[in-house]
């Protein structure tokens, strides 16, 4: 396959999908089908896609099981919130988002270097511990507002902005995965000993994946702060990490398409179940159990939705003339 040709084709597909998704939601907003109530769901979908895409890079592609994503998200959220509360301009929102993301990435490097020599369950516990440390810090520092948290954070996010952040995040992460550096990460998931023997510095790439994941968690956190006005330390507890992990597992570890679909499906289910009040969480849990029973590899497995692949599949199904 020609690299230039496939890049051109991918660019076209990306443009179509990105602009298409924008047009549909924008259309629904203008038609009055999406009001401020449904807009919360749309925002949640976008933020969850950004968070889960980063976590998928760490857990799905590099194979490092992390339960600390809420910690990185908290860093981005608080940094952006503190900055915009000081100076409520659009500029400080962007600076806050970038700064929050960079700080989250730095924490990712810091926490990654000692913990990423651990494997599987041990790594999960270590990252979980890290996220709790961040939460406790947020709960006790004056600058983060203590247990009461921060409120009245200026809102800068709207649909076009959330859309732009989501699309850019996905494009960057998918581009990374399709590069030699991304393949180095995937090799670690597949067989760490073989990867190391083939010249891949496994520690370096694990930390790198962790830092990139943390960076986008920081972005997601900043958007969260700006969208929902209020930050509380309890928001970034263990359950938040689990929520994000659920999107990744449900969508399929190692499938970005799956992450996008799962983020949308989960948010929409949550919204539809609002009317069942008490039974809501029970139904939600039953649905998760059912999906895991019938599709343990997640909705997409490790495959991506690709238009050429879809066409090929249909051709394969047709009887071959020999």
């Amino acid at each position: 396959m020609d690299v230039r040709q496939s890049r051109k084709k991918n660019t076209v597909i990306t443009l179509v999908l990105a602009l298409g998704s924008f047009a549909i939601v924008q259309g629904l907003i203008m038609a009055g089908m999406i009001r401020s109530y449904q807009m919360v769901t749309v925002a949640t979908i976008c933020i969850n896609i950004i968070l889960a895409a980063g976590l998928n890079l760490v857990t799905g592609f590099t194979g490092q099981f992390s339960l600390g994503h809420a910690g990185f998200m908290a860093i981005g959220a608080y940094v952006c919130a503190i900055l915009t509360l000081r100076d409520g301009s659009m500029g400080s929102f962007f600076i806050g988002t970038i700064l929050g993301a960079v700080m989250a990435a730095l924490c990712g490097v810091l926490i990654g270097i000692p913990t990423l020599r651990l494997k599987g369950d041990y790594l999960a516990i270590a990252t979980l511990g890290f996220a709790e440390i961040i939460r406790i810090f947020a709960q006790n520092l004056v600058i983060t507002g203590g247990a009461a948290g921060l409120s009245g954070i200026p809102k800068f996010t709207n649909w076009p902005m959330l859309w732009a952040f989501t699309v850019v995040t996905l494009i960057l992460i998918i581009a990374f995965i399709k590069s030699s550096h991304g393949r180095a990460c995937i090799a670690i998931r597949e067989d760490e000993i073989a990867a190391e023997s083939m010249g891949i510095n496994t520690t370096k790439y694990k930390v790198m994946a962790f830092a990139i994941g943390a960076f986008f968690a920081g972005v997601g956190g900043a958007l969260y702060a700006s969208t929902f006005y209020i930050l509380k330390p309890t928001t970034f507890g263990f359950m938040k990490s689990i929520d994000i992990l659920m999107v990744v597992v449900l969508g399929g570890m190692g499938s970005m398409t799956g992450t996008v679909i799962a983020a949308a499906v989960l948010a929409i289910i949550t919204m539809l179940l609002q009317s069942f009040s008490e039974l809501r969480m029970v139904l939600y849990a039953i649905m998760l159990v059912a999906i895991m029973l019938f599709r343990p590899q997640g909705l997409m497995g490790d495959r991506e939705l690709s238009v050429p692949g879809f066409i090929k599949k249909r051709q394969k199904k047709a009887p071959k003339a020999e």
């Binding site: 030699s180 550096h181 393949r183 180095a184 067989d191 073989a194 023997s197 083939m198 010249g199 891949i200």
Partner: protein, 258 residues
């Protein structure tokens, strides 16, 4: 100075000495065999040479491109960068990835673009990816695997998986290639074909090869020299003919005469 010199190399796991005081020399361009009964420590020796294990004592000295350096105790990816590549006895391919990706991953250490190019798919990225695909295809052609480049590695038949491991090791551009039982599980025809290809690889790429093998037809046919390991110790070394008639070797394999 030889390409690879192993001096008094020892590895103990607790009370068990898996490799004990091993000395070895491999000259540039040689094809050397390493044989020995099961559990003799052959694979442990490979793991020591490639950095999977750190030796308890002893030295491994590599001498290529006019540079002489000690490499014992270095990380596997550093040793790979120094020019030693290996295959594994129990196949360790990246099973869920395509044949092409398996080979491209091994080229990563020489990739000519950085993280930013990776994120933005710059022209540099395109140029390098094209080069990598072309080189990977050339290597795959040696084992006639090019037409299967988009198949998942796990879907290849067993023999081809072994071939792909060799291609992947070749993609790191090694000076010294370590093959751990390349013919394991192959039938006599496949082994004969593999013997040919190994000899050809060495001619075409000017490689130095050290191989572990149980199949004596392969070892005796292509190896110029053979080292015999038994209970972690170097039992004998010599040409195939010398080894074939060595009393100690025969005893190690067949047991002593009563």
């Amino acid at each position: 100075m030889a390409l690879l010199t192993v001096k008094n190399l020892t590895k103990s796991f607790g009370g068990l000495t898996a490799v004990s005081d091993v000395n070895m020399q491999i000259e540039e361009g040689e094809l050397v065999g390493l044989i020995g009964p099961n559990g003799a420590g052959k694979t442990t020796l490979f793991n020591l040479l490639t950095g999977v294990y750190e030796p308890t004592t002893g030295k491994v000295i590599l001498n290529t491109h006019g540079k002489e350096r000690e490499i014992q105790g270095k990380k596997p990816y550093n040793i790979c960068g120094e020019g030693i590549a290996r295959t594994f006895q129990n196949i360790r391919l990246f099973k869920e990835l395509s044949v092409l990706d398996n080979v491209r991953i091994a080229m990563h250490q020489r990739v000519g673009y950085n993280m930013m190019d990776a994120f933005l798919h710059t022209p540099k990225y395109v140029k390098e990816e094209e080069r990598m695909i072309k080189e990977a295809e050339e290597l795959l052609d040696i084992f006639h695997l090019s037409h299967k480049k988009f198949e998942k590695a796990k879907n290849l038949p067993y023999g081809e998986q072994r071939h792909l491991e060799i291609v992947r090791a070749m993609a790191t551009k090694p000076d010294l290639l370590l093959l751990d039982e390349p013919a394991a599980g192959m039938n006599p025809n496949e082994t004969a074909a593999l013997t040919e290809t190994i000899a050809q690889l060495r001619r075409d790429f000017g490689l130095t090869i050290l191989l572990i093998e149980h199949d004596m037809s392969l070892v005796m046919k292509i190896c110029e020299r053979i080292y015999v390991l038994n209970y972690g110790q170097m039992l004998a070394k010599g040409t195939p003919d010398e080894i074939r008639n060595n009393k100690q070797v025969i005893e190690a394999y067949l047991g002593e005469e009563r």
